[in-house]
């Protein structure tokens, strides 16, 4: 980079951000810079240091944390293949191989793997400079290679490549209901905060992120907390491998979600809200911005909403940048504040000490969507289906070995057998519930039910066909967690680092009894002592397999010996190479 170029970047960066310099927007600035220059050039960092009064190390540590940000060099086309297990089953490795061969020697392109990109119902998929491309086929790969080799700007690529389908395979009462902008909001204004909370309470709505905390309770706690400001955050960091129903909601039901946020703001007197949109869903940014703008123009956002003096609320969208941990609500808040996404100590919880230390409601996209439904149709309408502890219905994202992947809405209490049958997964040996961190349910247990009482899910439902290797799936999950552990606490940072190598011994049929014991011990330690849910649930599928499917491990064992596997010939290879080299 010439001094002139550097100077230009420095000035440009300063001008773009100096006006409203706000260090909580650091990540947003970095995302923008990355997008603009295909990396974060050093002069841009210097400019940010100057206008935000941050140290170089503080800025670089944020860059280093997010996998979509790079400070090393500009690469014009950064290609990330989604490495979710469903993408692999759909043949992503061959696609990646094909593109790698086609682009061999091309310095403009970099190819790597990333975690689930949320297109499991239309995999294999990839991201190129953050834009998603699904339904990869050899011919689409060849098209992409040709475009890159001829240096066509991404903006000029055919739109057909970037088409994303939003497939609803089964609707129940929530999806079937159309959104009538402002209907629910008007109702909420009529009711006022106390009755809104009462309605939510009667509806039995529980958070759809996975933990299932009662929404009314969360909102009440936030409302009761004494504070100067309160915030509403929509958690659209849908990172659980295999889930994509939030993507569908944001694409087709954005008004409902935004209205749910607005109702939350009304209830707790919040003036600002955020949609934390995962970087992989960058293609939703512009449509969502348009939705927000439209609602502002309709008087549904901004000041004096629907003419109510003092009801002021607006929403901004923050983009994530490739960090699964940011789906954890306290890590998400750190990220919203422009920092590395490291979970916070709890208590205190975000509901009393969240964004900027103020009470903050963090709700899943689907939860906010349901809020709008409830306010539109009433608590009774919502709660009359479902089970005792799990009222109403929920959305699940079905992918993997089934004929009809897509989003399904089911009343709680539905059996797995029913779901598997509906989606055409007749050959399933098991279902992976709730993503890589979830539980593996074998076919023999398909009578179990979808509900908080039995099998909770964040929305991911991956069907595992009989032809699939469970060990391969575990290795894929281990790769995922090694990639996504934030590194804060000991068991998660180190445990997740060690597991892939151990599993590899089983894959190579070299493992021993010692290795098996070690797998169990590491999983147990991570489960018992990790700081947050990522670490404690990372070994869930592994533990399930150890308990339910011991045969997949015994098949990978060379002996039941207490001695660990050790490959002597691998360990002496370097010496032989050295001593056989004549050039010394």
């Amino acid at each position: 980079m010439s001094p002139e170029q550097a100077q230009t970047i420095f000035e440009d960066t300063r001008q773009r951000f100096a006006g409203a310099a706000d260090d909580t927007r650091l990540l947003q600035y970095l995302v923008d810079i990355q997008h603009r220059y295909h990396f974060i050039p050093p002069p841009a960092i210097e400019a940010l240091q100057q206008i935000l009064h941050l140290t170089r190390a503080q800025i670089e540590s944020v860059i280093d944390f997010y996998s979509f940000l790079h400070s090393d060099q500009a690469i014009r086309y950064r290609i990330l293949f989604s490495n979710n297990i469903t993408d692999r089953w759909a043949g992503s490795a061959a696609m990646m191989q094909r593109l790698t061969v086609a682009l061999h020697g091309c310095e403009d392109a970099g190819i790597a793997l990333t975690a689930c990109s949320g297109l499991c119902d239309q995999g294999p998929s990839m991201l190129i400079n953050g834009r998603a491309i699904g339904r990869l086929t050899p011919s689409r790969i060849d098209d992409i290679a040709a475009l890159i080799l001829s240096g066509v700007e991404l903006e000029d690529w055919p739109e057909s490549l970037f088409m994303i389908d939003n497939v609803i395979q089964r609707s129940d009462r929530q999806l079937a209901l159309s959104c009538q902008p402002a209907a629910a909001l008007r109702r909420a204004i009529e009711l006022g905060p106390d009755l809104i909370l009462q309605t939510l309470n009667e509806s039995g709505l529980r958070g759809r992120g996975g933990a299932g905390f009662a929404t009314a309770t969360k909102w009440s706690l936030c409302r009761q907390a004494s504070a100067d400001q309160r915030f509403i955050v929509c958690n659209a960091d849908e990172g659980e491998p295999g889930t994509f129903k939030d993507r569908l909601l944001l694409a087709q039901y954005a008004d409902s979600v935004i209205e749910g946020m607005t109702i939350a703001a009304l209830t707790v007197s919040a003036r600002r809200g955020f949609i934390y949109l995962r970087g992989e869903y960058r293609f939703l940014l512009e449509p969502l911005q348009a939705d927000l703008q439209r609602r502002r123009e309709q008087g549904l956002l901004g000041s004096a909403i629907l003419g109510q003096a003092g009801f002021d609320f607006d929403i901004e969208i923050h983009l994530g940048a490739g960090a699964y941990i940011c789906g954890e609500e306290s890590a998400l808040i750190e990220s919203l504040e422009g920092k590395r996404g490291i979970p916070r100590i709890r208590p205190p919880f975000p509901v009393t000490h969240g964004y900027l230390g103020q009470p903050t409601i963090v709700n899943n996209v689907e939860t906010l969507f349901s809020v709008e439904r409830i306010l539109q149709k009433g608590a009774k309408w919502f709660s009359e289906i479902g089970t005792e502890q799990s009222r109403s219905s929920r959305l699940i994202s079905i992918s993997g070995d089934c004929e009809e992947p897509g989003v399904y809405e089911y009343p709680f209490g539905v059996s797995l057998r029913q779901i598997v049958q509906d989606c055409g997964g007749s050959d399933a040996q098991a279902v992976q519930m709730a993503g890589a961190a979830g539980t593996t349910v074998l076919a023999r247990d398909f009578d179990r039910c979808l509900s908080f009482e039995d099998l909770a899910t964040g929305g991911s439902f991956m069907v595992i066909g009989k032809q699939r290797s469970l060990l391969d799936m575990l290795q894929n999950f281990a790769w995922f967690f090694r990639h996504e552990s934030c590194g804060f606490c000991t068991p998660c940072r180190i445990g997740n680092h060690l597991l892939p190598e151990l599993l590899q011994r089983f894959a190579e049929a070299q493992a021993t009894g010692h290795d098996l014991r070690q797998l169990k011990d590491i999983a147990e330690t991570m489960h018992r002592s990790s700081f947050c849910g990522l670490g404690s649930s990372a070994p869930t599928a592994l533990s399930d397999a150890l308990e339910q499917s011991p045969e997949i491990f015994t098949a990978g064992m060379a002996s039941s010996s207490d001695n660990p596997a050790f490959d002597l010939s691998a360990a002496t290879r370097e010496y032989r190479t050295i001593t056989e080299t004549e050039s010394w």
């Binding site: 190390a57 503080q58 540590s61 552990s485 590194g487 000991t490 180190i494 997740n496 680092h497 060690l498």
Partner: protein, 230 residues
């Protein structure tokens, strides 16, 4: 005054204290590494795991509350601590024999207290440069346990931001805020609190190593459970 119990022993506490703070005030030792009384709790090392009314949690982050029954030195908790400690030992280069921090190292002493005889996990032997650029201090990054005490001390006591953690996952590492990343070109001063708060052997004063004879080192005289951190 309200109280709870640790291993059946009653512990009085002030409102707002965590279990670890209350225990330390009462002179009851709960093994810990990343916590230092001068700084806010961090919660990352997980060594202070206790069982509170049957639920496992870190004592440094769990608020004290009246009537809690806390289990601390039971066999299975000590075993859990050994499992956590051994992860730290395989992560870095903790070669006590040649480390001048031996005898004054928290990691070493806590592990000895917890009766960790060996780390039965694959050793990683990270390769990282030693930073000896500063005239008075050497930093050996391969021993860092990511407790961020130096980060906090620099920020909160020294009024600077010399240190940060960067990277993610297993690649998390300590870095120095300087244009070239070297200590000598940072705002670090030899007397900074950041240098003396390290519980392991990352910060080494130059030309001083091994000046304290064996037998007179911090944990030679008293084992770790008898010493309150200053």
């Amino acid at each position: 005054m309200a109280s709870f119990s640790i291993d059946q022993q009653p512990i009085e506490f002030e409102p707002g204290q965590t279990i670890l703070q209350a225990a330390m005030a009462a002179g009851v030792y709960i093994p810990h590494l990343c916590f230092h009384p001068q700084f806010s709790a961090h919660g990352s090392c997980r060594v202070c795991m206790v069982r509170i009314d049957g639920r496992t949690a870190s004592a440094c982050t769990a608020p004290a509350a009246a009537g809690l029954e806390v289990e601390n030195l039971s066999d299975d908790l000590q075993a859990l601590r050994r499992d956590i400690l051994q992860m730290l030992f395989v992560e870095g280069n903790h070669l006590c024999p040649s480390c001048e921090q031996s005898g004054a190292c928290h990691l070493q002493s806590v592990a000895e207290f917890c009766e960790l005889l060996m780390a039965d996990l694959p050793f990683q032997y990270p390769r990282r440069m030693v930073d000896a650029s500063h005239p008075d201090w050497v930093l050996d990054f391969t021993r860092c346990i990511h407790c961020e005490l130096c980060v906090k001390a620099s920020r909160e006591v020294d009024g600077k931001s010399v240190f940060s953690l960067t990277g993610r996952g297993f690649d998390t590492r300590l870095v120095i805020n300087a244009p070239d990343g070297l200590l000598v070109n940072s705002e670090f001063a030899s007397t900074d609190r950041a240098a003396s708060v390290c519980p392991v052997g990352v910060f080494l004063p130059k030309h001083q190593g091994f000046k304290t004879p064996i037998g007179q080192r911090k944990y030679d005289r008293h084992s770790i459970e008898q010493i309150t951190e200053e």
